[in-house]
């Protein structure tokens, strides 16, 4: 089971802050991030890529977006 960051409902910059915190704690592996708006999705993707992680899955659900990143 990958580590999960639930950033739904949080305003900027909290989704990115939580993602980067999890990335730092994990070092490498797989991370699942939940957001609920396209801005947070774009910001998290940008932050993950800058940190050297790859986006391996983006699943858009009616009320939320699931992102899976890997390193």
């Amino acid at each position: 089971m990958p580590e999960v960051v639930d950033a739904r409902g949080l305003s900027c910059p909290e989704p990115v802050l939580r993602t980067l915190k999890a990335i730092k704690a994990l070092g490498q592996g797989e991370l699942e991030i939940w957001v609920d708006n396209p801005t947070a999705k774009e910001n998290v993707i940008r932050a993950a890529k800058t940190s050297g992680w790859n986006v391996v899955e983006i699943k858009e659900l009616p009320d939320s977006i699931k992102l899976v990143i890997k390193k």
Binding site: G9, E14, N37, E42, R46, T50
Partner: protein, 365 residues
């Protein structure tokens, strides 16, 4: 996997949007908007507060179509691109208070982050102190974020109508502007106040202002343009994406001002500005801190309001009320300098923000 299919949210997209806004703002000035104020979200919301009679500073009363356009443009864009999502409930009243103090800080400097950049692009070197203050305020905000500051989660609303309130309010304001005009020899129409002198009397033609506002609203909603986020992301994550948009905004405005003959470098006699540098710094530091704690610059709050974000709408409303408070209680500055009670208000603002920053924290992120 690239993941970002929205061109305006890419690096070149945000640079393009910054450049377009940077070109449009000085053109709006050329067409009648006040000097170095082609666009100023704080000043324009202050003028709206005046137009509605919330304050009686006769020189700053006008229902600014740009602000209406920002919200409605964002609303249209959000609908078109399926990003309209009614939501709210993340410490709304705290956001209202932050909006009020953001405006009090901005009216001490005489401009929001947008205008601080436009003032510098017009040669007003006093803006350097405002910009330094802005960055300092945002820096303080990032310290709170590192300590776990959060206003909590918002909730998505199941009913679409829940996000219509603020766009509808802006539509009503537009209708009032279109049907109303001042009675002969007065500054008062049937519903609205209209400045007959001062910055409030200076404006581009209504439909040009409205179209520019709508266009910027659409672009900014798509690109997530944010003048506070630009500095915050650099400080917090060394992420330069939004900063590129703001840099492009400044460069485009500077070039446009040079072409239009609107660049006048210096400290003295700058339009709608004062030279009390400590207060320029402290005013924008307070505003920057409030924008950081609320998660967006005043423009971004309007664009979010258009997307259905009720918390952002409450922040924007707080700014409008803050403008009334600032002018009614002698807190707002003028080109002569700060108001009689500016220092107390700025001090109170910092105390309130620090209390908010220290007490609203999640123990476990």
């Amino acid at each position: 996997m690239n993941g970002i299919s929205n061109f305006l949210a890419t690096r070149w997209g945000i640079i393009l949007v910054g450049a377009i806004i940077g070109i449009l703002a000085p053109i709006l000035q050329k067409l009648g908007n006040p000097p170095n104020m082609g666009i100023c979200v704080a000043c324009m919301e202050r003028d709206i507060a005046g137009a509605l009679g919330f304050h009686r500073a006769e020189v700053v009363q006008y229902m600014r179509p740009e602000i209406i356009g920002f919200v409605l443009g964002s609303f249209i864009s959000a609908l078109l691109f399926k990003e309209y999502r009614p939501r709210g409930g993340s410490a709304p009243f705290i956001r209202f208070i932050l909006g009020m103090f953001a405006m009090i800080g901005a009216l001490t400097f005489l401009g929001c982050p947008w205008r601080s950049i436009l003032r510098l692009a017009g040669g007003d070197l006093n803006a350097i102190f405002g910009l330094l203050g802005l960055v300092f305020g945002i820096f303080i905000g990032t310290i709170f974020f590192r300590m776990g500051y959060s206003l909590g989660r918002s909730q998505g609303f199941p009913y679409k109508a829940a996000g219509l309130g603020f766009p509808f309010l802006m539509l009503v304001c537009l209708v009032l502007l279109l049907i109303d005009s001042p009675l002969p020899g007065t500054n008062k129409g049937e519903f609205l106040f209209f400045s007959i002198k001062g910055p409030g009397s200076q404006h581009a033609p209504i439909f040009i202002s409205l179209l520019a506002g709508l266009f910027i609203g659409i672009l900014a909603q798509r690109s997530r343009f944010c003048t506070m986020g630009a500095f915050r992301d650099v400080i917090l994550f060394r992420q330069f994406h939004l900063f590129l948009g703001v840099a492009s905004f400044f460069i485009a405005a500077l070039i446009t001002n040079l072409i239009l003959g609107q660049f006048n470098p210096g400290f003295e006699n700058q339009p709608i500005a004062h030279t009390m540098q400590l207060w320029n710094f402290l005013g924008m530091a307070l505003a920057g801190l409030c924008f950081a704690l609320a998660g967006g610059c005043p423009g971004r709050q309007l664009f979010l309001s258009g997307e259905g974000d009720g918390d952002a709408a409450i922040f924007a409303t707080g700014m409008i009320v803050g403008a009334a408070v600032a002018h009614n209680f002698g807190l707002a500055a003028s080109p002569k300098g700060i108001g009689p009670h500016t220092p107390e208000a700025i001090l109170l603002g910092f105390i309130v923000c620090i209390v908010i920053g220290l007490t609203m924290r999640v123990k476990k992120a």
